[in-house]
Symmetry: none
Subunit: 250 residues, 2 copies
């Protein structure tokens, strides 16, 4: 085990990396997940490692959509489990929505470990064992989900999701909310609501937004009516461009 000096200017980023590496060592996260995280880090850099206004807007719409859903389901993969297991469980409770283990590089061992981790964090309904239904339009082994979970959900929160699967879920008529730092990714472009933000920041904000909506009894339909995901992604790219232009190189 290496110790990260807490004086290091990249301390938080290094700590997050360590959480993921621990996830790999615990058999929860895949090695491909590490590379994917690195790609996300680069985009986080470009947006200034902060929650942009556009991400806040998407998060509010996501909260409203999840609260208004008839059958919301929260999808959990290896990176999500390593970084925000606790927050996903809390969200699941707040929304009374099940979690479903849904991993791209699937092994039964890894799926079991993720389920166990979520249950240890207090989850009482974790789907993803049955895989008795198939999402049309994607390769069979990656298409299997639970009939009572992702398959029949009307609103899906699928953070860090693969582009193909995101598209297939949208094609089934579902509303898909993603969290993905890359505004250019196929996932971000395919989703109904793309939260372009770091997963840890996004989950914290999403939990707050759900609590706020519940307390204030906000008009959920009104919150999402005027939302245009495409415009929102353009705003992210605009922000990146403007930051790059201002970049004050020494």
């Amino acid at each position: 085990m290496t110790i990260i000096p807490d004086l290091h200017p990249r301390y938080k980023s290094l700590m997050t990396r360590d959480k993921l590496v621990a996830g790999v060592e615990a058999g929860i996260t895949s090695q491909q997940g590490l590379i994917a995280h690195g790609r996300g880090e680069a985009f986080d850099y470009l947006i200034g490692e902060q929650t942009l206004k556009s991400a806040r807007r998407a998060t509010e719409v996501a909260a409203a959509m999840l609260l208004a859903a008839k059958k919301p389901v929260l999808s959990v993969n290896g990176n999500v489990a390593a970084l925000v297991a606790k927050e996903m469980v809390e969200l699941s409770e707040l929304l009374n929505a099940p979690l479903e283990v849904n991993i791209f590089y699937r092994t039964e061992k890894r799926a079991k470990r993720i389920k166990a981790l979520l249950e240890k964090q207090g989850a009482n309904k974790v789907l993803g064992d049955l895989r008795n239904a198939v999402i049309p339009g994607i390769e069979h082994s990656r298409a299997k989900v639970d009939r009572d979970g992702l398959y029949s959900a009307d609103v899906v929160l699928a953070p860090l999701e693969d582009g193909d699967r995101c598209e297939a879920l949208v094609n089934m008529g579902k509303k898909v909310i993603t969290i993905d730092l890359n505004p250019l990714s196929r996932t971000s472009k395919q989703a109904s609501v793309s939260i372009v933000d770091d997963i840890e920041r996004a989950l914290q904000n999403l939990i707050l937004a759900v609590k706020e909506d519940k307390k204030a009894k906000n008009d959920l339909a009104a919150l999402s009516e005027s939302y245009d995901n495409n415009e929102n992604l353009k705003a992210v790219i605009k922000e990146i461009v403007s930051r790059l232009k201002k970049e004050d190189l020494r």
Copy 2:
């Protein structure tokens, strides 16, 4: 038409990932190295997976600087070893400069394996065992280097280097050449010459440039005299901005 369809550059990128994963399995590359690589991938995508004119310029200056050096040293970490061990050994021979194993997440086992790999590729002088000197200004365990190597070098090639260490080496009065795909990284900003390019492309170009300079007996001082690293980084950012602006979201 999008210039960046998604973040999974298919072709060459898969080969590179395989090399890194093999590096992890061989105990040469760290898991954190995979994350760092993912970050690089994102920036490579943003520059169009090509060697920009600015990178070519930096590479030429780097070649001249290394050839003019009194005591050049080439630093090798886990990702460098997994991706360009052969090229680093060739460069070491061309420049008559020692290699030094210099890894951020250091274990003795990993350092030994990297050394063995370099020697297997034909290296005859690999430093990094003694660690009998300390770079001032950074945390002790990461500051140890060889007195006869990095410590006393006047020009250091440190590809994929940590920002802190890059800064500390510059503060010692050394010229530091980095290879880093992120033009905004602390490493890129701190270095004397930042080659913003993929490590495999950069090493190939650097070797060619060194051979060219040797053959043509170029005026090495003249080559680097007019070089402004800051201006060069700005050119990279300009390129990224222009590519992002063309990005056509559906």
